[in-house]
């Protein structure tokens, strides 16, 4: 999980970039729900979902390589999914020289297809929306504003804290310390402890700075213009299409 996080935002000025963030966020979630609700045997439906995403990626001018490289985050579950045909229960089928579980094959396909489509949708959302705008969008979708505020502070100070962690590592290594095995734990833990203290103290200073500029408990909301209906229609169209596909697939199956 803690494999490095890539900055997913790809600056651009496409119609997708210009859509209001709350609409895009809602669309991404709705699309993911449609994908998850699609019965796994409807292979054509998954092809349709992929085509929808490809269309959005094309309009947003997100290169396929960008998408594929960042889907590497999925890898642990890919491994799990690939193991299923081998360790799965139930009747076996012969595939070439291998005897695989049929149920396992279907389950592996199910997980792989849905997880991949889900990740791709998330990547497209993040690639076309600046991080803080995604949080603004979450707030407009009625996610509790205190939670969103906490997320905004986390986002703002993440780089600062990571920078402090990096500097501590450089300081350690400059004094000849290399972490090779468990005996390094006390030294590393001391760094983690120091990081907590610095983070906490900074939190207190930020609070004082907020008070000094008149903060009385609720962050002022500055930009609450509702998104125009046309924007919602545009943003939700791939999600609606996916929902239709999923519904058809369920009916047919």
């Amino acid at each position: 999980m803690a494999a490095g996080h890539h900055r997913l935002y790809l600056p651009g000025d496409t119609p997708v970039h210009r859509l209001p963030p709350e609409a895009k966020l809602a669309a991404a979630v709705a699309f993911a729900i449609a994908v998850v609700a699609t019965p796994r045997t409807a292979l054509w439906a998954f092809a349709a979902h992929a085509a929808l995403l490809a269309a959005v990626a094309a309009i947003a001018r997100v290169p396929p390589g960008f998408l594929l490289r960042r889907m590497a985050i999925e890898i642990p579950f890919v491994a799990f999914a690939l193991a299923l045909p081998f360790i799965g229960l139930g009747e076996r089928v012969q595939v070439g020289v291998l005897s695989l579980s049929a149920e396992g094959l279907w389950a592996a396909w199910n997980i792989l297809a849905k997880a991949t489509l889900g990740v791709a949708a998330s990547i497209l959302l993040a690639a076309t929306t600046e991080p803080h705008r995604i949080l603004h969008g979450a707030r407009r979708l009625r996610i509790p504003s205190l939670l969103v505020q906490i997320a905004m502070f986390m986002l703002r100070y993440l780089d600062v804290i990571l920078g402090e962690m990096r500097r501590m590592r450089i300081a350690r290594e400059s004094r000849g310390f290399t972490a090779r095995d468990l005996r390094a734990a006390p030294v590393l833990a001391r760094s983690v402890g120091a990081l907590f203290i610095r983070s906490y103290e900074r939190g207190e200073r930020v609070h004082l700075a907020m008070l000094s500029r008149g903060f009385t408990g609720t962050l002022p909301v500055l930009d609450d213009r509702p998104a125009p209906p046309a924007a919602w229609v545009a943003a939700l169209s791939p999600a609606v299409a996916a929902a239709v596909v999923a519904a058809l697939a369920r009916v047919v199956a």
């Binding site: 991080p131 703002r156 008070l211 000094s212």
Partner: protein, 266 residues
């Protein structure tokens, strides 16, 4: 209308800041301030000098009510600092902290500069105007939509000043404004500060900076004001400086014949 004009007149005549007999002890019992007295008139630029641990930052935190004195009072442009006046006090006293990262806590520069006036109830076009005006005064208007962590340290310092200017304060209080700035940024900041028509109180170790920008200096040492006078005289008094752990930088001598800094230079 007549009342408001009268009110403005009285406050215009009031000193920007008056601190009377201020004493304070930390929660663990250590006393930090032992009766501070100072008065700063409107339009002055004053430097607050002193050794580390003298209580300069502690004093500064009393000016906008973050700390409450154990004894004495702080009056900002005629308004005493009390629990019920905090909101207006925090508009009048623009406190710029030493670490700009603590002060730029919103996702973009625009939102940071708007935070202060928005808390005062300013909205819409007036808010936009204030934000742009504040950023113009510090020369950072083109950074308005950028996240703070994409800016250099000097740029963040300037934006931090803008966040406070947007509240149209009576007095600008800066804690070590020139620390960690490269020479060019130092100069840029000095130009900006010189161009503002607001009262300035600057806590600093940077004696040449104090001389360059502030015609008057105070020395806070041992929790009281031990010196109050023209910066030039104070810096020329080597004994006084030495007694309070202040030193001029190597090779720096107070220029004798330089003209007095122009209070209203633009």
């Amino acid at each position: 209308m007549g009342d408001a004009a009268a009110e403005r007149e009285t406050t215009a005549a009031e000193p920007s800041l008056r601190v009377r007999d201020l004493a304070y002890a930390y929660p663990d019992g250590t006393q930090a301030l032992f009766g501070v007295n100072l008065t700063i008139e409107r339009g002055e630029r004053v430097a607050l000098l002193g050794p580390n641990g003298a209580g300069k930052t502690t004093l500064v935190m009393h000016l906008n009510g973050i700390l409450t004195p154990g004894h004495g009072e702080v009056v900002v442009a005629g308004l005493p600092v009390r629990k019920d006046t905090l909101r207006e006090v925090r508009r009048r006293v623009g406190l710029v902290f030493q670490d700009p990262d603590d002060q730029l806590f919103m996702p973009t520069v625009r939102e940071d500069v708007a935070f202060g006036p928005a808390n005062m109830g300013v909205r819409g076009e007036e808010l936009e105007r204030r934000v742009r005006h504040a950023l113009e005064r510090v020369g950072m208007l083109d950074a308005i939509d950028r996240p703070p962590h994409h800016l250099s340290f000097g740029q963040r310092r300037r934006v931090a000043v803008a966040t406070v200017l947007a509240m149209e304060p009576e007095i600008l209080v800066l804690d070590e404004p020139s620390s960690n700035l490269d020479p060019a940024s130092r100069r840029e900041l000095a130009e900006i500060l010189r161009g503002l028509d607001v009262t300035v109180l600057m806590v600093t170790h940077d004696l040449p900076y104090a001389l360059e920008l502030c015609e008057r200096s105070l020395i806070l040492s041992g929790g009281v004001i031990v010196a109050d006078g023209p910066t030039r005289e104070i810096l020329a008094d080597a004994e006084l400086l030495a007694a309070h752990r202040l030193e001029l930088p190597f090779g720096f001598t107070v220029p004798e014949a330089a003209p007095a800094p122009d209070l209203h230079a633009r």
